[in-house]
Symmetry: C2
Subunit: 256 residues, 2 copies
Amino acid sequence: MSSDNKTLNQSIIKAFTVLDAFTNDKKEWGVRELANKTGYNKSTTYRLLNTLASLNIVHQNSNEKYSLGSKLFELGNRVAIYKTIAKSTNNPIKNVALEIQETVLLSILKEHQVFHINKADSLHGLKINTSIGSYQPIHATASGKLLLAFSDKTDEILKNIELTKVTQHTITNAKAFKKELTKTVNQDYALDIEEFELGLVSIAIPIRNRQQNIIASISASGPLSRFRTENIPNYISILKKGATLIEEEFKDFDSL
Amino acid sequence: MSSDNKTLNQSIIKAFTVLDAFTNDKKEWGVRELANKTGYNKSTTYRLLNTLASLNIVHQNSNEKYSLGSKLFELGNRVAIYKTIAKSTNNPIKNVALEIQETVLLSILKEHQVFHINKADSLHGLKINTSIGSYQPIHATASGKLLLAFSDKTDEILKNIELTKVTQHTITNAKAFKKELTKTVNQDYALDIEEFELGLVSIAIPIRNRQQNIIASISASGPLSRFRTENIPNYISILKKGATLIEEEFKDFDSL
DNA sequence: CATAGTGTTTCACTAAATGAAACGTTGTTT
DNA sequence: AAACAACGTTTCATTTAGTGAAACACTATG
């Protein structure tokens, strides 16, 4: 068992486990339902929700179910760095999404993963279900491969990640993966055809600062059924429009 | 002492007390500094930060100080209702702020207080320090008086609030306050001259839906030194431009 | 009326959290 | 170079809070 100093506060762990259950797909939970989901006793769950409600972190609706409260919106707005970036990039990526007709993501490398700062959804019914603020594997996504390929810490990061198999198309062989990164640098874009999720295709290009260092990626994702390899130059062209606008805004940033 | 069922989880209370210390004014804290601020023992504070850091709710910078982490940004983005409204209203209120040359706020009534959904800062160095997601008193602010005046629950809310003195200009007499609300309805805007904060002036107008029910307020705030009563019609005109754009977006909403 | 499901409460018991003191590191002052 | 001040971090004995089973009260459904 870990020493005292590294023992985590269990009540806080439980509280955020409960909060994590609230997603865009399921915005409200009953007490017992949430207890089943988290594995916590229903009395414990009730007390956690009660405390969180008293702080406006969740609130109880008129149907007795609980949903996220305004306090998280406030706290989320204090994480200023991402809020500012999200705000500034809304229009460029929205325009790209309209033109490319797929979901567009703005992403950076963070903690050896791909972190999504902003998103503009496709208007199609069939679209990826990725959230702003979420992480995805670096080795199995277009954005991840692109950011890793151009990173100045590529070897260090490679030592710290596992090329785990996410789908049968995920590149798990180290040599093959390095070749993929070299190819990505050469062609100045990355492609992920079902490497992260079956039926899903993504294409990512770099966003550079004044010194030509990559600070983020912009990508488009959609189902394989709507994807044509002959359309790649067109996709890149549209993504570049968005990238250019974002680069103007962040040309003097070292990173996002 | 309260019964078992209403006893709040102290660890969660402490965790969010710690998180509340991180503001736009002070984004990073050392362990002892934060312990002094919150009144918690430095060991306790260290453990709280350690747990929060393990969840990416805070993170420790290279200078050993702690700041808010990406997880709050993610959780904040799940409070979809405010995020959507904030996103849709960014341009209108930004444009109003540019033209009016003061800080502009979009606000609603929530829990007998004024809740700020969105904000566009003035470019002046001297400007109000209000945060998105924060609450202000309903009786001592322009937005609050406006939203209360037009509310269909005015009397009920008045029974539940105290006309506490915030500055010497705050209206604390019930009769005088009711007259102020009547005047607000008649002139279709509200003014707060140093009622909430000395030296601060705010003017608010309504945002209406298709049924002409007020769903929010848009206001401008700045220092008394830059305020001229003869400019009120001009301020209202500019605010109305923003209100009109927002009304187009939310004309079918019953409330925000 | 019976049943099933919910949120909420109680109480005896269990586990977690706490704080004082000390440690190790870094930067500053003498 | 040594002493000092401030920091983050760790330890251990002690204190406090948190927990879960069982029961209650309510609502909806058949």
